[in-house]
Subunit: 241 residues, 2 copies
């Protein structure tokens, strides 16, 4: 495809671990715009980038102009974050991203959610875990991501904004212990599941996003069936570095 | 029971429609403290009352001192409320209530939730609706109440604060049309379900709170079984005023 026929995709949080990975691996497939906040690389991967704080609506709104879909990776990523941290970045920030996307006519938002939305099942060893179960967040971080899923459902139902929520496991180059083997999302599986989420015609969905890990506790069949995901890596077989 | 052996219960939003009803009907059973914000009656129903804005942690925290359980009715009650309105009252405010309750050693919070958490099933006529289904809020108000349920689940699991969420239907003296017949919560059934929620030993639960309405669309069996609720009124048989 030529640059002009590619879909125009905004990656928020492009300075983060997953965002910067996707900014590299999705360049050929989409015409990317990158949003940074605090950490901006010396040489951003693509020429089209903006600096904006998602917690400020007036800063993030202009970044949506001409965009077809948003990969929303920006936010507070720590399960030990305080209420003030997740409230600002993941509640106000995610609301601003949905609202700015809707106002600009963006068609889809991919939300970076997390297995921590269901983390109390993990703590209690109540496995397997399915998306259809009631949420049991293990942290204010998990609560804030569950909020993003619920608000996404509303924007999908009310406004026709497609929202795909990916409950991302542990994004690492290689797993380093049992839990990271079970919850691993490899780099190439991460790239694949995000483009699958961009290509699906579903209006709304919540999906576990992990590799094809032996010993996993989170349902992958819903993701395989719903998004056509075909994970290539298995944390149980990966070398410990 | 004498005043000194009654449980000490704080009603937030005691100036509101449901709060002021409960401030009257639960007086004999509990030792009440009432929280008001903007509207304070000339003669509050009980002597122990405070003025506080739940959106300000430092205002609501002192109201928790010596309290055993909170009936949290304060908040923005309109399904047409804006984001700013529900964000302030129902997200920040409800978080402050849980956190202040936890910090003060309160044992239980009853959250006023709503059928609007599932309102898109209503709009689509996808009935019956069970608590176990995925949430589909029909409004930012519904989103904000779903947030209160999720945060309540976290406070219960993480901190041992008992949280009972009541998805209250339409609290009215009498129903006036089909939808209000189906979703009606009569005054005496409202009183009963709140004291049942206060008396249960369950750590967490979400329950529909409507009368025993013929033609209802929301599951009551879960409430009957879980809380011992025995509704006395039926919107289908109630006289239209």
């Amino acid at each position: 495809m030529t640059e002009s026929t590619k879909r125009r995709v905004l990656i928020t949080g492009a300075g983060g671990r997953i965002g910067s990975h996707l900014a590299t691996t999705l360049q050929d497939r989409y015409s990317l715009r990158l949003q940074y906040h605090q950490s901006i690389p010396d040489q951003p991967q693509v020429a089209d980038w903006v600096r904006a704080d998602i917690a400020e609506y007036d800063q993030i709104a202009p970044a949506m102009e001409g965009i077809d879909a948003v990969i929303h990776m920006a936010g507070e990523p720590s399960p030990s974050a305080t209420w003030d941290e997740v409230h600002t970045a993941n509640i106000i920030g995610t609301r601003n991203v949905y609202e700015a996307a809707r106002a600009a006519g963006v068609r889809k938002v991919i939300l970076a959610s997390t297995n921590h939305v269901m983390g109390f099942y993990d703590r209690d060893g109540e496995w397997p875990i399915y998306v259809s179960q009631e949420v049991r967040p293990d942290s204010l971080y998990g609560v804030s991501k569950a909020f993003g899923e619920v608000l996404g459902r509303y924007y999908a139902d009310q406004h026709g904004l497609a929202v795909i929520c990916l409950r991302i496991g542990w994004f690492l180059e290689k797993p380093h212990d049992d839990f990271s083997r079970w919850s691993w999302l490899s780099e190439r599986d991460c790239t694949q599941i995000v483009w699958r989420a961009l290509e699906t015609d579903k209006l709304f969905g919540i999906y576990y996003a992990i590799s094809n890990n032996g010993g996993r506790h989170w349902d992958l069949t819903h993701t395989i069936e719903g998004l056509g995901y075909r994970p290539e890596d298995d944390g149980e077989l990966a070398d410990i570095p």
